[in-house]
Symmetry: C2
């Protein structure tokens, strides 16, 4: 049994909280490829981005140079309401696994949105307010991002218009009601409030919607209303920047107790949580100061990094956003319908993709039943009921700890526990009932998705 000289939970004091975000692009010798204008295939300029995104966020999106970007005091004040997030030593998990490994996790679920999404939502709401906007628009699928954004907008007294995929609007009523309680207007998508929505409704009268359609409606709503902009909860570089607060707090806490992780593990969909967790550690690795092993864990049903290709692709299924160079399965790739958790995104952020391509990180994939087994195992000893997304990281950490058990190595493993599973209990019910199934896409299905990647010189799919 571990000697427990390290506390179960390390909480930083308020004066130890980060004052700057960490922009790991500043440490990258080869920068992530720029966003391209889908018409001209030229890099997107600030002028082209500003009708859609807030000015200061556009600057952050394009900033490859400044390692530290100050966190405005107003955002720091909001962070103090739900941060620091605890860095937890998983003593019970270690004991149950009988592993010599030391396992730590950074837990981001202790806020009403239930996940790390709030870290970027509050920053984006702040910059919108600072620019004097009336409000913001966004899309949401399962509702995690929409919830976070509605909390942030309520705090800064901004209007928040959420386009929620119709099937989720009707089924995930709890998520919808949280957003409404925070004063957001939630519209089932497709709706008759936008041209694109009306067009889709006319063509497909019975449709239950899709994330691609909701993005298209949210972008139209932002650009057609005076004083509104569109905001996004993952994938973009600015989002990874805001999420660096996760890694910065973690590193400060670990440094304080003289802990150095050997392996750092995060689940990866768009990459916002993973990019945030690894940021300051990756900075050290990029500068050649220290070495860490980084592992991205993705679902076998949506394996962007492990089976995708590194090419320019549309960021959204609706194809209204700029092109981004990323590991992608094709913007038309839809994970099989039995897939219960999140991490359904067809690509990975440009930063994560470039780091992976340069060999700075590894990636593995797991099937959902084994991920839920890990989730149940974790919940029963560590107490916390994890979100399905976060459970991919748990599965990755357990596998690493079991390797240590075989080899006898006393590695220090750090993983990101991004959120709670309170709103994912339909998936847990499937697991409890034994009716959960797995699906790995065939090579033909992967090829069919990739066939939708835009073809232009230098962007060929192999």
């Amino acid at each position: 049994m571990a000697d427990k000289t390290i506390p179960y939970k390390i909480y930083l004091s308020e004066d130890e909280l980060p004052k700057n975000y960490y922009n790991m692009r500043a440490d990258m010798k080869v920068k992530p490829a720029p966003l391209l204008n889908p018409g001209t295939h030229e890099p997107m300029t600030a002028e082209e981005l500003e009708p859609v995104f807030c000015e200061e966020l556009v600057q952050q999106e394009l900033n490859d140079d400044d390692r530290l970007i100050p966190i405005p005091e107003e955002i720091q004040d909001f962070y103090k309401m739900y941060r620091p997030a605890p860095l937890v030593r998983a003593y019970c998990l270690e004991e149950k696994l009988q592993t010599p490994a030391k396992i730590y996790y950074k837990y981001e679920g202790n806020n009403t949105s239930g996940s790390h999404k709030l870290n970027s939502a509050i920053a984006q709401a702040y910059y919108a307010k600072k620019q004097g906007l009336k409000g913001v628009t966004t899309e949401t699928g399962a509702g995690q991002w929409g919830t976070a954004l509605s909390m942030a907008c309520s705090y800064f007294d901004l209007d928040c218009q959420v386009y929620m995929v119709k099937v989720s609007y009707e089924q995930k009523i709890f998520r919808r009601e949280v957003m409404r309680t925070y004063g957001a207007s939630v519209t089932p998508s497709p709706s008759d409030t936008t041209n694109v929505g009306r067009q889709i409704l006319a063509e497909h009268p019975g449709t239950t919607g899709s994330l691609g359609c909701a993005i298209s409606e949210a972008v139209e709503a932002a650009t057609s209303q005076e004083g509104y902009r569109y905001v996004l909860g993952s994938v973009l570089s600015q989002v990874l920047l805001h999420q660096s607060i996760i890694g910065l707090e973690t590193k400060t806490a670990m440094d304080k107790y003289g802990i150095t992780p050997d392996v750092i593990i995060g689940c990866c969909g768009g990459g916002s949580n993973l990019g945030g967790l690894i940021a300051p550690f990756m900075g050290e690795k990029l500068r050649g100061e220290k070495d860490y092993q980084f592992i991205a864990v993705e679902p076998a049903s949506c394996p962007s990094l492990t089976r995708g290709q590194y090419v320019y692709d549309f960021c959204d299924t609706g194809r209204v956003c700029p092109l981004a160079k990323m590991y992608t399965l094709g913007s038309g790739f839809i994970p099989s319908s039995n897939h219960a958790g999140g991490l359904r995104y067809h690509g990975a952020s440009t930063v994560i993709s470039e780091l992976y391509d340069q060999g700075y990180m590894d990636a593995v994939s797991y099937e959902q039943t084994e991920v839920f087994q890990a989730a149940e195992y974790f919940a029963r000893c560590e107490g916390i009921l994890p979100a399905p997304e976060s459970s991919h990281a748990i599965k990755g950490a357990i596998e690493e700890a079991l390797k240590c058990k075989e080899t006898g190595e006393e590695k220090t493993i750090l993983f990101g526990l991004t959120g709670t599973g309170y709103f994912d209990l339909t998936a847990y019910q499937q697991f409890n009932d034994g009716t959960m199934t797995d699906y790995i896409p065939t090579d033909e299905e992967i090829a069919a998705g990739l066939a939708g990647v835009p073809q232009f010189p230098g962007n060929e799919v192999k």
Copy 2:
């Protein structure tokens, strides 16, 4: 605006966590009236209680003398997994109210059960394990207590049998699935697994169950299986004892920063949270060392303290438990069906009742719509979506803060925020839709409930 020298959140370090529970009965000159055998009207002995409850818990139930009762190390270790709970300075609420009052709340929602219930669940599970039992049985209505108990039992590898009111079993499937994920067996009550259940099913074939019936089934299940005992999540003195961890942590945190509360506010159903929050403060008041104002907040639809009578009554609607002297509306009193939150209990714990009767605390009641208004107001500035139960305390605190605004007094207000509203979103939906209604029972309805109080010499209802 406040100068913010006090942190937004005060977290104690692990070595500052309480090592003893606080038994405020030791400080009471007039002790709470003993539990009575419903047949003989004689005080219940340990021997009579032990077939139903764990031995060590019976000792705690009967202990009027020891002020400090050591917390076993195994329980302390579990507490370290989700405690300390933060003591939060409500800077944003203060600013929004423009009050000179300083408002603090102790937040118990940062654990998967979502409430303070886990504090007692883990203690009760520990003592059951220590006694060598195979498992425990209990009832649950909305599922908060059942969730907490299933987490605790999973940690100590104890069997956990939960009888869940059938209508909740069918409607609150998320709660049910959390319990199942932690390995509990959840049975809709009434069921055909007990004599009392079969009897009720034969008499009322279509019934959707009641808490009283679920208690009766859980008690029968405990006493008819070798190695099982029954456990309860509120009302009992032992539960208030375990919940004293709330008040002890709060007091340590306040002492550390030189803060003295003037008013201490808690919501009150059975009284477990309120009794736990006030324990060490009430101890000082009972010993004449300090003065504090204590306010119990209850729903106007179930006003045990403010409109009930202080007499011996059954603890459960099924009338299988001992008689307890408490402020009661009669064990047959059922709050109107429009009542959305918890706090539906017909009486208040013997300790709370005796303190209230002796004038050591005040009580107020509020209607549910104004309570949800307070909840929304709080959520939008402080971030946390509160449970309907906890929102009664928020309402009470806001009222006190507004009084300070009028008088200019800079009072320090402390309230207990017992849990999150994640599983109460059907009620929030009613509120958001404007379909929530209020109901205050008539004098005739109160009298009808009290008519069910057992009549024996010295126990007359006025």
